[in-house]
């Protein structure tokens, strides 16, 4: 059923009333999740993801999509999300479709449909356009803006850094790729809880990062691997002023002071594109390594520190699907200074080799 935007609230209220009569369910909604679908083919995937998210976090979802056309209009669909097919309702499912220039009206209409006094989270699905003020206008009233840097290229690290700077704390940036790195960070942190292991870091010489390549990946230094390096470099306060790059077809190396980092594409059975296959840190005679096993969801965690006995450990890392990652980003709608700093450091490292922007906006882009 197509509705005008001003009919949506009434329709949603009617649906909840019907449900209340049927099942007596109380209406619980914790936030508004607005998903901006930059390419119509992504719509189905996005609908499936938000449906799954709402099952675990009752919310209002507004999926906004736009199409080319001459009829300038926005229409809406309103339904309820259900915890399972035919099960209890768990949120409002609103779809906005903008045709032609009505795309410009989406920010105002999404804002109008946001739940009162609840956080608004904007999920930008897909690549960030180089210059598009829709993004800026959408995020004005957001609490959290979620992107997926893995769907972007190296230059987007610069754009994301700029977004953080421009937000001036009004909204938090969250990144699905960063959320996916959380377990890697956890495993790396475990290496250095002991003082003797930490002491080895002063002798850090080499970092190896191997990722499973995405189809058509041109650069061995992917955005996600560079974000991981950005975090390592930020934490260890390594110099970033003069990164020296060398690159081949399936590998890339960057020298930062005394530390060489080598990126490598390494396909691994059962590992989705972009997944980490191996991370190793070499500090003189000490070695710290996380390596996928034959079972693609299990890792061998091992370290060799002179004078310390540590058996290798097999650790399960559950496959993180998109709804789970999105939920992680929604868990804590607060700024993440670590992400912001890691992004900025990653951008300083990759800037010399990142592709140029497609064209410059008037006045240039403040990076």
């Amino acid at each position: 059923m197509r509705l005008s935007v001003d009919q949506v609230e009434r329709e949603v209220a009617r649906l909840w009333e019907e449900e209340a009569k049927r099942s007596g369910t109380a209406r619980v909604e914790l936030l508004t999740l607005v998903a901006l679908v930059s390419e119509p083919p992504l719509l189905e995937r996005v609908q499936a993801v938000v449906t799954e998210v709402v099952r675990r976090l009752p919310s209002r979802t507004i999926v906004a999509v736009w199409r080319e056309g001459t009829a300038v209009s926005i229409t809406a669909d309103a339904e309820l999300h259900h915890a399972s097919p035919g099960g209890l309702p768990c949120g409002d499912a609103i779809t906005l479709e903008a045709i032609g220039e009505a795309r410009e009206w989406l920010p105002g209409n999404a804002d109008r449909l946001a739940l009162s006094d609840m956080p608004v989270c904007i999920w930008w699905v897909g690549d960030l356009p180089d210059h598009d003020d829709l993004f800026d206008r959408m995020v004005v009233n957001a609490d959290v803006v979620i992107v997926n840097s893995q769907e972007m290229d190296l230059r987007d690290l610069g754009k994301l850094t700029s977004i953080c700077t421009r937000s001036r704390g009004r909204y938090a940036l969250a990144d699905l790729a960063w959320a996916r790195l959380r377990w890697v960070q956890d495993l790396v942190a475990r290496f250095f809880d002991d003082e003797p292991a930490r002491a080895c870091l002063t002798g850090l010489q080499r970092i190896d990062i191997a990722f499973s390549p995405r189809e058509g990946e041109k650069d061995a230094a992917s955005t996600r691997s560079c974000l991981l390096l950005g975090w390592l470099v930020h934490v260890l306060k390594l110099p970033t002023d003069a990164p020296q790059w060398r690159r081949g077809d399936t590998w890339a190396e960057v020298q930062l002071g005394n530390v060489l980092t080598r990126f490598e594409q390494r396909p691994h059975r059962g590992v989705r594109p972009g997944g980490l296959v191996r991370l190793a840190l070499e500090c003189g005679t000490a070695r710290f390594e996380i390596q996928r096993t034959e079972d693609p969801q299990a890792y061998q965690w091992s370290r060799e520190v002179p004078g310390m006995q540590t058996p290798a450990q097999i650790l399960r890392v559950l496959s993180l699907d998109e709804p789970t990652l999105l939920l992680r980003c929604l868990e804590r709608p607060k700024r993440d200074p670590l992400l912001e700093k890691s992004l900025a450091v990653a951008w300083r490292i990759v800037r010399p080799v990142a592709p140029r922007l497609s064209n410059q906006p008037p006045g240039g882009l403040d990076l």
Partner: protein
């Protein structure tokens, strides 16, 4: 690199990660028993799945039954497969986890077995870098505590608490005594070997997410605390109701009864968390200091008052879910003339500035109508009935549901739509399950992890245990001195004896319908 950044783990800074404890060896005494199979090993396995066990950690089972390591692993695999909340078993994690499982057999009474244990632990330290860190879990009856502790000490397996290079901690399960004297004796016994800071007394209720949420609700919101006192609260009800019987634990129950099994520990823990003052910090001693103050403020129930302020009961035959069920005296291993209580209700008061004059009604029992643990805070009537109503306006109730359907509900009145000003109670419900989805860690997972991290906040301290017994013991003694009760006095599947209803109705109140 600036070495000053390495004074702490720099990779932990700013990271929202779960805590990983230092490597240790976890020794379970009573490893062939039910608790190990149903709770401990599944909890440890789940911690492994969650990547929360430290590298090199080993688990050593110690029990009388003769078993090789492989046999122990196989038995534990079956237990984890059956009782873990995570199914199916994760083969990769299990393989790694199983390699950490070891077994030592022998009598607790024989010091030579503890020398054998010490050698095994030393071998594991050398192999796995566990640095002589030890946790001893006593999944054995309290009667075995003394001999185990003495032999641990004799074998040099208990360290000075001031030793910062290694630690030894002990986890014990309730019952922590049968009365004040035996609890004090048990504490004294433990203190001969362990310092209080090394003792972790487990009460799994404190590991429940909803009990921790009660702290979050009270002290993380501004709207509740101003109302949380005698000026606004009329009374409080705490119910710990089980719909099952003694389930094969007749022998244990004959020794314990509901007062010792539930009231002295779980129920008083709920009372403490509900009534404690805000601690100055959420640290172990600050929280436990405030909790114990509640117990110290409980108005003692004198022998003369026991008759009017307490009710005990025992279930007789009845029906549950449409099926006949036996009475307590017909349960296996129960004396056919038993006078052990399976139900307790009490009216208690807290003599402090905040709660003086606010009655707290508690009830706990087996084979009641439904399984339900709940704290309900009943607020006072509005001071003046402005709106013409037939009868009084229903007072507001805040209900904190511990299990099942964990959550919080607020009952208040609203106008019924229409031309007249008619008021009706309505509820606002917050359900953990529907709001956060999924399931959190089980109580044992949280508590075992806390013990490994050395955080005793959610464990009972000796003064807390003693204070609880100081309140309960006079009641038990008065019951023992008085005439034998006429049991059974309630049918299985009901809400307990009629005297429990009378206990609250005497004050013009009634038990909340659950």
């Amino acid at each position: 690199m600036d070495p000053s950044i390495l004074s702490e783990n720099p990779f932990r800074l700013g990271l929202v990660t779960e805590r990983t404890p230092a490597p240790c060896v976890f020794v379970i005494f009573g490893a062939s028993g039910d608790l190990t199979r149903r709770k401990l090993l599944p909890a440890l396995y789940n911690l492994a799945v969650s990547r929360l066990l430290p590298p090199g950690m080993s688990i050593v089972g110690f029990a009388l039954t003769e078993m090789a390591d492989e046999e122990f692993r196989s038995s534990m695999r079956q237990a984890v497969g059956e009782f873990s909340r995570r199914k199916p078993l994760d083969e990769a994690v299990w393989k790694d986890f199983a390699s950490r499982l070891h077994y030592v057999s022998g009598k607790f009474e024989d010091p030579a077995n503890f020398v054998k244990l010490r050698d095994k632990l030393a071998e594991l330290d050398a192999r796995n870098g566990t640095r002589e860190n030890r946790i001893y879990y006593l999944a054995v009856p309290p009667s075995a505590f003394r001999i185990v502790n003495d032999n641990l000490a004799r074998a040099g397996l208990v360290y000075d608490p001031e030793d910062t290079t290694r630690y030894s901690r002990i986890i014990i399960e309730k019952p922590f005594g049968r009365d004040l004297a035996s609890a004090a004796a048990l504490t004294a016994d433990l203190h001969r070997v362990f310092h209080e800071g090394q003792i972790f007394r487990i009460d799994h209720y404190l590991g429940k997410e909803t009990v921790q949420n009660l702290v979050a609700m009270r002290f993380g919101n501004a709207i509740f605390e101003p109302l949380w006192n005698r000026n606004h609260i009329d009374h409080v009800q705490i119910t710990v109701a089980e719909d099952i019987g003694v389930e094969g634990r007749g022998k244990f129950y004959e020794e314990a009864g509901t007062t010792r099994d539930i009231v002295q520990n779980h129920l008083l823990q709920l009372l403490m968390v509900m009534a404690m003052e805000p601690p100055v910090a959420f640290t172990a001693d600050e929280v436990r200091d405030e909790k114990v103050k509640v117990l110290r403020a409980l108005k003692p129930i004198s022998a003369e008052e026991v008759e009017t302020l307490t009710v005990r009961g025992q279930y007789g035959p009845g029906n549950f879910a449409g099926k006949p069920v036996p009475g307590y005296r017909q349960e296996p291993n129960v004396d056919p003339a038993s006078i052990v209580e399976t139900f307790v209700a009490m009216r208690i008061e807290i003599d402090n500035w905040r709660f003086a004059g606010v009655p707290i009604y508690i009830r706990a029992g087996k084979r009641l109508t439904k399984r339900m643990t709940e704290i309900s805070v009943h607020f006072k009537q509005v001071p003046h009935v402005l709106l013409a109503q037939p009868g009084p306006v229903d007072p507001d109730v805040l209900a904190i549901r511990i299990q099942p359907d964990e959550g919080i509900g607020l009952r208040f009145v609203a106008k019924v739509p229409g031309q007249t000003m008619t008021l009706r109670p309505v509820t606002m419900d917050f359900r953990y399950g529907s709001t956060f989805g999924g399931s959190g860690p089980e109580a044992y997972e949280r508590l075992i992890l806390d013990a490994m991290l050395g955080d005793p906040t959610l464990f009972a301290r000796a003064d807390e245990v003693n204070a609880a017994w100081r309140f309960i013991t006079p009641v038990l003694e008065a019951w023992a001195r008085g005439p034998a009760p006429r049991f059974p006095n309630y049918a299985a599947g009901t809400w307990g004896p009629t005297q429990a209803t009378a206990l609250i109705e005497r004050d013009g109140r009634s038990w909340r319908r659950l």
